[in-house]
């Protein structure tokens, strides 16, 4: 490989590495939500379905 080309390649590699680091600074909100849900499942032991708890029968009218 010719030296000029090698230099160019190295510069491009360095630039793209910097770009990756820059992207990584943003907070990954979706991943954090997923992580939170996993931990909440475990701590509150809700693993058997996030649906309605059968303990309270739905009262008359609209139950939220």
């Amino acid at each position: 490989m010719n030296p000029a080309l090698r230099w160019l390649f190295a510069a491009a590699l360095a630039a793209s590495a910097t770009a990756c680091v820059t992207i990584n600074i943003y907070f990954p909100a979706a991943a954090a939500e997923k992580a939170a849900d996993r931990i909440i499942d475990e701590v509150w032991q809700m693993r058997e379905g996030a649906g309605s708890a059968p303990a309270t029968p739905p009262a008359a009218g609209e139950a939220k």
Binding site: L5, I23, F27, E33, I40, M46, A53
Partner: protein, 146 residues
């Protein structure tokens, strides 16, 4: 500069390799999960799970509520029999200490200690949303029964 001498094949090879590398790095990041399986985080998850047995009746009675800032709060001490009040207080304090440590550890385990506040905000929102019917939750500064 002697760009005239560069061979097209090797240049396109370099560009292709660079592109593939970049795409791999981006996709790995985009679909990434947060690291929550370090020993410190696992230990916190376990103690919080065990403490939940003690806190669940307090949530149900309304003595303890899910606060808006990612903590739990003893919002109605009178709902706890006097003899158990100190114990309830201690459980709330221990839970909040563990939660603070959890948010800090998650941020640190992922190489960004400065994410702690955002991790806390995300958890706060999820705790509130997933609170069971009948539990007290705090929105803004006001409490309501879910």
């Amino acid at each position: 500069m002697k760009f005239g001498s560069m061979q097209p094949r090797s240049l396109s090879g370099c560009v292709a390799a660079l592109f593939v590398g970049l795409v791999l790095a981006l996709s790995a990041h985009a679909q990434g999960n947060l690291e929550i399986d370090t020993p410190a985080i696992s230990a916190l998850r376990k103690t919080m799970q065990q403490r939940h047995a003690q806190l669940a009746p307090l949530y149900a009675s309304g003595a303890v509520g899910i606060a808006a800032d990612g903590t739990v709060s003893l919002r109605d001490a009178a709902a706890v029999p006097l003899a158990q009040r100190a114990q309830a207080n201690a459980a709330v304090a221990a839970e909040n200490a563990d939660r603070a440590a959890l948010y800090r550890e998650i941020a640190r385990a992922n190489g960004h200690p400065e994410w702690e506040a955002e991790v806390r905000r995300t958890f706060a929102q999820r705790w509130l949303e997933r609170a069971q019917p009948g539990w007290w939750v705090q929105q803004g500064t006001s409490w309501s029964r879910k």
